[in-house]
């Protein structure tokens, strides 16, 4: 259910459990936000990747009754399916490589490169790297777990502990880090084309420097001392690349400052089960989003408090709204070398958290584009939360 920080959410029943949703990137220089997203399914007899169109700028819709478990569909702009393609195995992760092509990591150990052509409204497989994640031989493939892209370079991590570096034009992996992890690689983020951050099910965050001619060991290993809860996902702050947020299996969010020690700066608790995806807002990095096995999608707001606000309001800010008018005091928001996530305020728990969604089954994935969030759940629904507000 939507709350005060966003418009009324729209639910679309699709008939399969959704493991990944991603907005299609807009060509550079485009002013309008993307209105096309893709959704991948898992755990079904035949899994698929479907392309959907959703244009929230269509006429405003009346608010749904607050008691309804799902917003009624009448009067709402529903996403419409454009096309879809079947894939072998569960869709484990999905990332766009450019405006048309996406890399899809599958539980069959293969990575598919899918090509969506908007004018023809078709989605086809343009390449597949078969069983590049495996144990000893390719007869024992292991699921791909994470996909990261940087330019045209694709990095994939798997349950076999490997990391493969792929390029759309090459049929074989450019490079393979054979024993990148002794457990399971759970999340990957690439930055600056040469660095790769990977989370592991053994609770480690590893930094890989791909400039070295042969990569055998990570350039850094970061841990939470004495705590081996698996890490599930990660994201890097868009304007402070040394800030990394990691979601863990016990529902906590860890914030690491890569410039500092190997221990996290702060551990924020909130969710009650595995965090499946975590994402900073690309344009408002003070805003963080998480979705979880505990059936919720959260919006974390660490925007520094405006001076006009009384401090008593702030102390009780967790899981509540600060009902303050939009403030013009955003001096630190885009300051070059500071982020509220590493400030004392966040450490003391002074940030806002709001539910964007509370479903009945786990929320597996979401993607934030401009003001709109799309998310996919195990209750076989797509949810669209339009018109988020950012202070």
């Amino acid at each position: 259910m939507a709350d005060g920080s966003a418009g009324t959410s729209v639910a679309k029943y699709v008939g399969y459990k959704i493991s990944r949703v991603r907005w299609k990137p807009q060509p550079s220089g485009a002013i309008r936000p993307s209105d096309v997203f893709v959704a991948g399914s898992w755990d079904d007899k035949v899994n698929r990747v479907a392309v959907w169109r959703y244009d929230p700028s269509a006429p405003p819709s009346p608010p749904s009754s607050p008691s309804a478990p799902y917003p009624s569909e009448e009067g709402f702009v529903e996403p419409a399916r454009v096309c879809e393609v079947g894939v072998e195995g569960d869709v484990m992760d999905l990332r766009f490589v450019d405006e048309e092509r996406m890399a899809v990591g599958l539980s069959s150990g293969s990575v598919a490169l899918l090509h969506f052509r908007a004018p023809q409204k078709t989605i086809t497989r343009s390449r597949q790297w078969d069983r590049i994640h495996y144990i000893t031989t390719r007869l024992q493939p292991r699921p791909v777990t994470a996909v990261a892209t940087s330019g045209l370079t694709i990095a994939t991590g798997g349950e076999d502990g490997r990391i493969n570096i792929l390029h759309p034009e090459n049929s074989a992996p450019l490079r393979t880090i054979e024993n990148a992890d002794n457990a399971v690689v759970t999340g990957l983020v690439s930055t600056m084309k040469t660095e790769l951050l990977a989370t592991s099910s053994s609770g480690q965050l590893k930094l890989w420097d791909l400039r070295a001619p042969s990569v055998e060991t990570p350039s850094r290993i970061m841990v939470i001392s004495g705590d081996s809860h698996p890490l599930r996902c990660l994201d890097r702050c868009p304007n402070q690349p040394h800030l990394v947020a990691v979601g863990r299996s016990n529902g906590t969010v860890c914030l690491w400052d890569l410039r500092q020690d190997k221990l996290p700066v702060s551990i924020l608790s909130g969710h009650t089960a595995d965090i499946w995806e975590i994402q900073f807002h690309r344009h408002h990095p003070n805003h963080l989003f998480t979705c979880s096995q505990d059936c919720t999608l959260w919006h974390w707001d660490a925007s520094p408090p405006s001076p006009s606000l009384s401090s008593s309001l702030l102390t009780s800010s967790r899981l509540s709204h600060r009902h303050n008018p939009p403030s013009s005091h955003r001096a630190t928001d885009h300051a070059p070398n500071s982020t509220p996530w590493l400030s004392g305020h966040v450490k003391q728990g002074k940030f806002d958290v709001t539910y964007l969604l509370h479903d009945k089954l786990p929320v597996n994935s979401f993607d934030v584009e401009s003001k709109h969030v799309v998310c996919g759940t195990d209750s076989e629904m797509l949810f669209l939360v339009p018109n988020l507000t950012f202070r």
Binding site: D44, E159, A183, D227, P230, E380, M381
Partner: protein
């Protein structure tokens, strides 16, 4: 589970909507699909590749799977394979899955609302709200199944099942969930019977009105009756006004309408509900007197004449006044009976005109129902008829709400959900609400969910934690750990083991790590071992492994004294299995031979010597026993090169003891 029965062919009696049989022969490893439509009658499946007349036995291998094998003595000669017969849960297609997910949401919301009430029973309004949500979901599902033009045979059958469900559910809602004051129940009953046929009636009415003249349409009078019988009076009046005879003489038509209006205007059976049953009853009586008086005054006479004029010979116009004044015989007139599509329509018409103030608990309802069934000629009631009658008799109140049956039904439903590979999460929530049998079923089903990926296993684990299925949590982690172990990935196995805090498995893995250290001379998965923290305490052996690793780090950092202390405490604490003692003792050698530092005190040296002594004496015991009987494990006896190691140690210990004693004497 049913016992395997020897049969030459397997006849699968598939229930309800399980209709697709999908046969795969596992002995050849390739799928050979053949689809066969099954009904409620036994179906014979021919399993491809089986020799004819081979006597078979069968055993259940899953909720929708049978394994076939030949009878040991007779069949083995003809065929010595296994065949797996599995069938699909065809009831779960993309349209019905939506219903499953929606009703799951309502089910959970309702239970949550119940829990929030803390002991108070659920608010009737809550139940009613979700009951209506559920019915609208059912309706949506029926529309979905019938829509899109390409409605298959299977979809149509499902649509029928779901619309029947909606019909029964609606009646149950009216009778049990909604608490209606006198005079309101009948209105709801009318809505109930007309709801399903609304669209059809509208279409037919349009067709009749489109006919010129409308009254020449063969369904004209039937429609008039239907409208009157279901209380849709304004529509009935409107239709009558289109009668050619009426429209020819407007004044009469007007007059006729006025009579109708004034008659019906006196009857208040709609909103707002009458303030009290007495008042309502008075109103009803008054209306009845009015109609009788008008009939006697000949008000309907003109109507009859007009109809005679129109030569609608088959219509008994006198029926109307009779109906209106509640003379019961009229409900057995063929025209009236013929205008109803089911006995329950007739029943509601009867209730509407004879006992409109009926309450849901009144016997009048049952009486009307039985009479209507008799009139309608229902000799052998279908399941639906019995269900509706049972609901009217209020017997479901005892049955459905009896906890045991309710639980049985929920488990049955959950099992049908589990027949589909991806609805297990939905099914678990249902099972979790079954207090007596639920957990048992949850464990049985959860442990059979194929753990195809680590992420899926994590989802299963989370369910185990949510419902506190500790044993299953351990077993899931063990299954995943074993899978990794078989692939030689100790680290991955270890991370699974840590998740369930499985001490037995942790001990096993710790030994594997140590053994690999003994053979390789270096530790595997150092990043994992160095960051054990509190996890070290899961098992004694893991503690040993962690501490031993710590010793290595101290040694590498040149912290010899703390390293020595750690080594001694490890050896004396008893956490180290004896077969690892030699390795640890050998590790003390470089510390003993340090040139400028005495690491071990005399007390420590004595302790180390004691360990060494124990080790050599146990070895010699083994040697002795081996000389008498050679059945002992040869691994426990030291290899020849170990004796030189032992003597080296002995010398170093002696030297250290001397030095340490001297130093201690000097200090004191």
């Amino acid at each position: 589970m049913p016992r395997p029965q020897p049969k030459t062919t397997i006849s699968c009696r598939l229930l309800f909507f399980r209709s697709c049989a999908n046969i795969s022969k596992s002995s050849e490893g390739e799928m050979d699909d053949s689809f066969q439509r099954a009904s409620l009658y036994p179906t014979t499946l021919l399993v491809p590749g089986l020799p004819a007349n081979c006597p078979l036995l069968a055993s259940w291998s899953g909720p929708q799977r049978l394994v076939l094998f030949p009878r040991p003595t007779e069949g083995a000669r003809q065929w010595a394979g296994l065949a797996q017969v599995s069938w699909d849960a065809a009831q779960w297609n993309s349209i019905t899955r939506r219903l499953a997910n929606q009703s799951h949401g309502y089910f959970l919301s309702l239970h949550e609302a119940g829990r929030e009430g803390e002991g108070q029973s659920l608010q009737g309004s809550d139940i009613l709200l979700y009951s209506r949500y559920f019915r609208s979901a059912l309706h949506e599902c029926v529309l979905g199944l019938r829509g899109r033009g390409s409605s298959s045979w299977e979809h149509e059958r499902q649509a029928q099942v779901f619309s029947t469900m909606a019909l029964v559910w609606h009646l149950v809602e009216i009778l049990f969930i909604e608490v209606l004051p006198a005079g309101c129940l009948v209105k709801q009953l009318v809505e109930w019977v007309t709801w399903a046929g609304q669209e059809r009636d509208k279409k037919r009415l349009k067709e009749i009105l489109g006919h010129t003249p409308p009254d020449s349409h063969h369904g004209y009078w039937r429609m008039v009756y239907r409208l009157v019988l279901t209380g849709r009076l304004s529509e009935a009046r409107n239709l009558l006004a289109h009668h050619s005879a009426f429209s020819a003489r407007e004044d009469v038509s007007h007059n006729c309408s006025r009579v109708w209006t004034s008659c019906w205007g006196r009857l208040r059976w709609s909103d707002p509900p009458p303030p009290s049953p007495e008042e309502s009853s008075n109103g009803w009586q008054q209306w009845r007197r009015e109609v009788t008086a008008r009939r006697e005054a000949g008000a309907f006479l003109s109507l009859r004449q007009l109809q005679l004029l129109s030569r609608c010979a088959f219509v008994n116009t006198h029926l109307f006044p009779q109906v209106l004044s509640g003379e019961e015989e009229v409900f057995s007139e063929p025209e009236i009976v013929g205008s109803c599509e089911s006995w329950y329509e007739l029943m509601v018409a009867r209730v509407l005109f004879t006992t409109p103030l009926v309450m849901s608990s009144d016997y009048d309802l049952v009486y009307s129902a039985e009479a209507a069934m008799k009139t309608f000629g229902v000799v052998s009631p279908e399941p639906l008829d019995s269900l509706l009658l049972a609901a009217l008799k209020h017997s479901p109140l005892e049955v459905v709400y009896g906890a045991k049956l309710a639980e049985f039904l929920i488990i049955e439903y959950a099992s049908s959900l589990l027949a589909h590979p991806s609805l297990w999460q939905v099914a678990m929530d249902y099972l979790s609400e079954c207090p007596t049998q639920g957990r048992h079923h949850m464990v049985l089903h959860l442990e059979r969910i194929p753990l195809t990926s680590a992420r899926k296993a994590a989802k299963v684990l989370q369910l185990c934690r949510k419902f506190q299925l500790k044993e299953l949590e351990e077993s899931v982690c063990r299954v995943m750990a074993m899978k990794e172990l078989r692939s030689g990935r100790l680290g991955a196995a270890f991370s699974w083991c840590l998740q369930s805090q499985d001490s037995v498995f942790a001990a096993f893995l710790a030994e594997r790590y140590f053994t690999s250290y003994q053979t390789l001379g270096e530790f595997m998965d150092l990043d994992l071992l160095d960051n054990l923290g509190a996890a070290m305490l899961i098992s004694k052996k893991l503690t040993f492994l962690g501490k031993y690793r710590e010793f290595h780090q101290l040694f590498a950092d040149g912290e010899f004294r703390p390293a020595g202390q750690l080594l001694v405490s490890l050896l004396t604490s008893g956490v180290v299995p004896k077969r690892f003692w030699l390795t640890l003792l050998m590790d003390s050698l470089p510390l003993l031979n340090l040139k400028d530092e005495i690491v071990f005190s005399s007390e420590d040296t004595v302790a180390l010597s004691h360990c060494l002594q124990q080790l050599t004496s146990s070895h010699s015991r083994i040697d002795q026993s081996q000389s008498t009987s050679k059945s002992h494990d040869s691994e426990k006896a030291p290899p020849p090169d170990q004796s030189s190691k032992l003597s080296l140690l002995r010398v170093a210990l002696c030297r250290n003891l001397a030095l340490a004693t001297l130093q201690e004497a000097e200090l004191s």
